[in-house]
């Protein structure tokens, strides 16, 4: 840390001896702010009171927070969300590149894919994947793979395909916007150096596009964590919400278990928001003159400042 430069007055500061008189005025009173703060606090108090007196057995929530069935469901929620998101991201990049290509066949195929998967509810898509065996009893990919659809299309596979392929449609639009946000001069400079189309995309364009891609992708991922709960009823995938509601049904603590599920979803989304902050920071390198401080760096900077002040206090 460098010391702050000595403050010096402007060249045309008044001559010493005749100090300018400091203004002592009565500040404007913001009565409106006080009133609105009080109103909001009262309403909040009423809400808390209502829930405190509601017929909820709050003790059941911590009791089941780390229940093994709940934790299994939680793991499955995270697993399916991460895998479906990865599938969506990779396929989304492919679709975006296809959409931007000069080849009319690939770009219209990509357009049609997006049109279909964005245009139908993800719940319907999950149901369709899960029930695929009804129309194709057998999956036959020639020499590569051949099996009965019913044994291939497990709840896990149905959830992965349903959520991932749907996500790809959304991700491809996000990736396309990111790629298009990169200045054309970048591609030109890269080509002029003799870099191929593919390398230019991987090394030059995509890393810069990430700045535009990451924030909405974080949104998509948080959405995915929650949307994955549809996979329970559509495809019998036993994720967090299903495992908690099962407990709710057997113990009679229905609402308590919903609260518990909500708690876990909040924890998950909070943790991933922190991850997103660091990811955004990573891809901001070069585009900002100085990177924003991480929370940890902020704490240290504040501690350092307090230390400095207390030292000065001792000296004074």
């Amino acid at each position: 840390m460098t010391a702050a430069p000595e403050k010096t007055g402007p060249a045309d500061a008044p001559p010493p001896g005749r100090e300018p008189e400091t203004i002592k005025a009565i500040p404007v009173r913001h009565y409106g702010r006080w009133v609105s703060a009080v109103v909001v606090l009262v309403l909040l108090g009423l809400l808390v009171n209502a829930f405190a007196n509601a017929k909820v057995n709050y003790h059941a929530i911590p009791d089941y927070l780390f229940n093994s069935n709940v934790l299994t469901g939680l793991g499955k929620t995270v697993l399916i969300s991460v895998l479906a998101m990865l599938l969506g991201l990779v396929l989304g990049i492919v679709l975006a590149v296809m959409r931007l290509s000069k080849n009319p066949v690939t770009s219209s195929v990509s357009w049609a894919y997006i049109w279909f998967f964005r245009g139908t509810p993800v719940y319907v898509q999950l149901l369709l994947w899960f029930n695929l065996a009804l129309i194709f009893p057998e999956i036959n990919l020639g020499f590569i793979y051949r099996d009965y659809t019913s044994s291939f299309m497990t709840p896990f596979m149905a959830a992965l395909l349903g959520l991932g392929l749907n996500e790809a449609a959304y991700m491809s639009e996000i990736v396309r916007a990111g790629i298009q946000s990169v200045d054309e001069g970048q591609t030109e400079a890269s080509h002029a150096l003799g870099m191929s189309q593919g390398r230019t995309l991987r090394r030059i364009v995509l890393p810069q596009a990430m700045r535009v891609i990451v924030p909405p992708t974080g949104n998509e991922f948080i959405n995915m964590l929650k949307t994955s709960s549809l996979a329970a009823s559509a495809a019998q995938y036993l994720e967090l919400l299903r495992s908690t509601s099962d407990i709710g049904q057997t113990t009679g603590a229905t609402v308590e278990m919903l609260f518990l599920a909500a708690t876990w979803y909040l924890i998950l989304t909070s943790v991933f928001s922190v991850g997103q902050f660091y990811l955004e920071r990573y891809y901001a390198r070069g585009s900002l003159r100085s990177l924003p401080l991480t929370p940890w760096q902020k704490v240290r900077a504040n501690l350092a400042m307090i230390g400095q002040r207390s030292k000065e206090g001792v000296r004074a």
């Binding site: 080509h191 150096l193 003799g194 191929s196 810069q208 390198r285 070069g286």
Partner: protein, 253 residues
């Protein structure tokens, strides 16, 4: 054949707009070749044709004796594959008006990128050369800076080092100093002067008449897609023969 670049009746159109209308010129090995002309006359377009960033519509363009973008077999022309075009571009460095450094990489990484990615050079040897090149353009102490942490003149010098890292036999400069504050122009021109002294073949689109007069070996005045006048820079700049050259020079000098 000692012409590094040879253009024979080069034409280029964008849709209905006819931009280059038959350019003929020859750039000898080791020559500093200056290209001047009013805005919109097609200088950048011609430069971009030389490394096939634009396809020409008619005529022939040769770099170091080889046809740009095509292969001739008998009397038929075959378009080169993307990989072959990329291969030919390795030997031609290009410096842009707006620098076009890669903003997500440090100055050093910008210079190392192409040798590693394109030539498959090892990281260590690419780095060694990149450090030397940054030193040569006077930026040894800025290796770790991102482009956004450099002044325009520094960015342009990194861009020159980046192009030199591929050890090109020809350098194309498209108004390398016109986006710079006047006091930063000198540093960039100094680097270019040093390159010229080392015998690099350079085609320079510029409005810096002082540079053209002092360093240039040949100069071409282009207007409306044709070469109006050419000759030795001192000759053309002091005694322009053509009226269009005279009126252009009276505006920029």
């Amino acid at each position: 054949m000692n012409a590094m670049v040879k253009a024979e009746g080069v034409h280029k159109s964008f849709g209905a707009a006819h931009i280059l209308k038959g350019i003929d010129l020859e750039v000898a090995q080791g020559e500093v070749f200056c290209l001047i002309g009013p805005s919109g006359s097609g200088k950048s377009t011609f430069l971009r044709c030389i490394n096939h960033l634009e396809k020409i519509n008619a005529g022939r363009l040769y770099v170091d004796g080889e046809l740009v973008g095509y292969r001739q077999k008998g009397d038929k022309l075959y378009e080169l594959k993307d990989s072959e075009v990329a291969r030919n571009r390795r030997d031609i460095g290009m410096v842009f008006q707006r620098f076009n450094l890669f903003p997500h990489m440090t100055a050093l990484a910008n210079v190392m990128e192409a040798p590693i990615q394109v030539k498959g050079e090892s990281k260590a040897s690419a780095k060694e050369r990149a450090v030397k090149l940054l030193d040569r353009v006077g930026l040894a102490d800025k290796a770790g800076n991102y482009p956004s942490q450099l002044s325009g003149g520094q960015q342009q010098r990194v861009a020159i080092a980046r192009a030199l890292a591929m050890e090109p036999k020809l350098m194309l400069f498209d108004e390398p100093t016109s986006a710079l504050d006047p006091e930063l122009v000198g540093d960039v021109l100094d680097v270019m002067r040093g390159l010229a002294e080392d015998g690099m073949t350079m085609i320079v689109v510029t409005h810096e008449m002082g540079f053209a007069r002092e360093v240039g070996d040949a100069l071409v005045f282009m207007d409306d897609g044709v070469v109006v006048e050419s000759g030795h820079p001192r000759e053309v700049l002091t005694n322009p023969r053509h009226d269009r050259t005279k009126s252009f020079l009276s505006k920029v000098l």
